[in-house]
Subunit: 85 residues, 2 copies
DNA sequence: CGGATCCAATACCGTTTCGATCTGACCGGG
DNA sequence: CCCGGTCAGATCGAAACGGTATTGGATCCG
């Protein structure tokens, strides 16, 4: 699991679409798809339901989204703490 | 910044030596050296004082160590939360 | 002194990972 | 039907990564 994967996951969860998340992240769509897939593989549980209209968070995804945001917040806080030393 | 870098940093901080941290992490010493350096570059402040006896945490390093542990704990908690879904 | 020792840092190389582009598969709306 | 929108797979060039070998610097000891 990488921080990039976590950021991609949060973006997809928030946008509801891999493509829109990709645009927001300024990268192409397939890499986002792959990262989400590999994240699910690593965690051992599906996080999204794939529908023709986009990606819908599953219960496991909701749980992980909460933790993911905490991780990213902790990272941001860490960098901010050193910004003025 | 990557989770691997954060793990390497914590290991070096705990061991006090790049080499020992590397052994603990089951990787070679140079990669650890490089990751620490690039982490410092990215954060814009030195985290360790290089001494002939090893690496000694600077004040900025102590601050970051605290945050680093929180990040890793959050990651562990995230994976644990999905272990049983 | 001077060589041995113990560190981290650098150079270089092969492998792996990553992202971009192109393409395919699937479903819903007109 | 076919068309628009969406995700997934294949392929390729570029970047990152880790390993080995080596260098550089500072201390210790004979």
């Amino acid at each position: 699991m990488s921080l990039a994967q976590i950021r991609y996951f949060v973006a997809v969860a928030e946008e509801g679409h891999v493509g829109r998340a990709a645009r927001k992240l300024h990268i192409a769509q397939p890499p986002v798809s792959r990262h989400i897939r590999s994240l699910e593989d690593e965690l051992g549980s599906a996080l999204f339901a794939r529908t023709p209209r986009g990606m819908k968070l599953l219960p496991a995804g909701e749980v992980f989204l909460d933790h993911a945001r905490k991780i990213l917040a902790a990272v941001e806080q860490a960098t901010r703490a050193l910004r003025h030393t």
